[in-house]
């Protein structure tokens, strides 16, 4: 079954992962800007990173027939640094016309601090100014409920935010209800140990009628699974779900949300693979 991985940090993955993803049906990935595992020291490093996301990475993916898209920001873990945040916000607009940039993301909160929230609002304002869709990270583990609440309340208070153009990612059982209830899209992250298992993701999809919900791997430099979606598809079949139900989750829903950007187009054919180019 063809699928779209809406959240994959491919800069952290080996090229063999693109091959595995391609062989298991992946036709497109979207890669939000994120934390490198350490705090970067200057805006120059973000210039390099954004160039990697908008030039090198789409070429690497294309060799395996995968369309690569990206979202730009300074991520919540580094957004505590207000000076660096403002410098990064200043350079983002010149990348927004790049053909694979879909919007602003993954912005959000980490430990739910004052500075993180101000940086989050700045990103939302930038997205609105440039008419960009928004991709949002919600905090990890014990901070998830609190951070998701603050994010939803903040978005609802900002004039011009259109919930159907906003994806609030990494939902779990205690946050999905008020994300969807306020009209936003949400994502279930198939990430071992710290986020949703395949079985729990399917539980949530069954309970919320699989509308405005996307599943993704969020594979990165941590212990994660670039072929999480094929594993999810296998588990959904085992659970007795029909092919149309599964395809809606792994293909039609991400296609619908990502089409908020006119740049999002799927490859017309997968016969142009250049495996050794």
């Amino acid at each position: 079954m063809q699928y779209i991985d809406m959240h994959a940090h491919m800069v952290s993955r080996a090229t063999n992962d693109y091959k595995m993803m391609s062989m298991t049906g992946c036709v497109a990935v979207t890669e939000p800007a994120f934390w490198a595992g350490f705090d970067r020291v200057s805006v120059d490093v973000f210039e390099d990173y954004f160039n990697q996301l908008t030039d090198f990475e789409p070429k690497r993916a294309a060799k395996y027939g995968i369309q690569h898209y990206t979202w730009l920001c300074i991520n919540p873990k580094e957004a505590e640094d207000r000076k660096l945040t403002k410098e990064v916000l200043d350079i983002i607009p010149k990348y927004l016309d790049k053909p694979n940039v879909l919007g602003i993301g993954e912005i959000g909160l980490n430990r739910v601090t004052r500075n993180e929230l101000e940086s989050f609002k700045d990103h939302v304002k930038l997205a609105l100014e440039y008419d960009q869709p928004i991709h949002i990270h919600t905090p990890h583990l014990e901070d998830k409920w609190k951070g998701t609440r603050v994010i939803v309340d903040t978005l609802l208070a900002i004039d011009g935010v259109q919930p159907d153009r906003v994806m609030i990612d990494h939902a779990e059982e205690h946050t999905i209800d008020f994300i969807l209830g306020n009209g936003f899209w949400t994502g279930l992250t198939l990430y071992p140990t710290t986020k949703a298992s395949y079985a729990r993701a399917i539980d949530m999809l069954e309970r919320y009628d699989n509308d405005r919900i996307i599943v993704a791997s969020a594979c990165d430099w941590g212990p994660s699974e670039p072929v999480a979606l094929p594993n999810f598809i296998f588990e959904a079949r085992r659970r007795g779900h029909e092919e149309d139900w599964i395809r809606k989750v792994v293909f039609e829903n991400p296609k619908q949300f990502l089409s908020h950007s006119p740049k999002f187009k799927l490859p017309e054919t997968l016969t142009t693979l250049k495996l050794n180019a």
Binding site: W35, K77, E80, N110, R111, V112, T113, R114, N115, E116, L117, P139, H140, L141, E142, D143, K144, W145, K146, R149, V150, D153, A157, E172, E173, H174, D177, F178, T194, R200, D203, E206, R207, Y208, D209, R238, R239, G240, H241
Partner: protein, 108 residues
Amino acid sequence: MSYKTGEIPLNQQELVDEYFMEYRAMLLAVAAYLDRMDRSEMNAEDDFRVKAFRASLQELTSDETGRVERIQMLLSDNDTTLMDERDVQGAYGAFNPESRTPATEEVS
């Protein structure tokens, strides 16, 4: 928080037939972890993660559906007060009330 139910393709007997072995293994893993804790030097009974884990185990035995949401909340910071500044980058898996700077402002 409302609890939504949804139809699933498998009935209870099919869920038992298909998944009992997997969840039996998980159950034994939790039991063995608790026994291992008992056998080790006792110096973490007051650790906030141990307390949250034990509270969550109580919730597991509830007869009322919605256990996963209630356990998620037992493991969560239930207060939307902002931190004045970041303490650490990572999270611990359970909320530690002693880890935070004092609350000074509510988020509206």
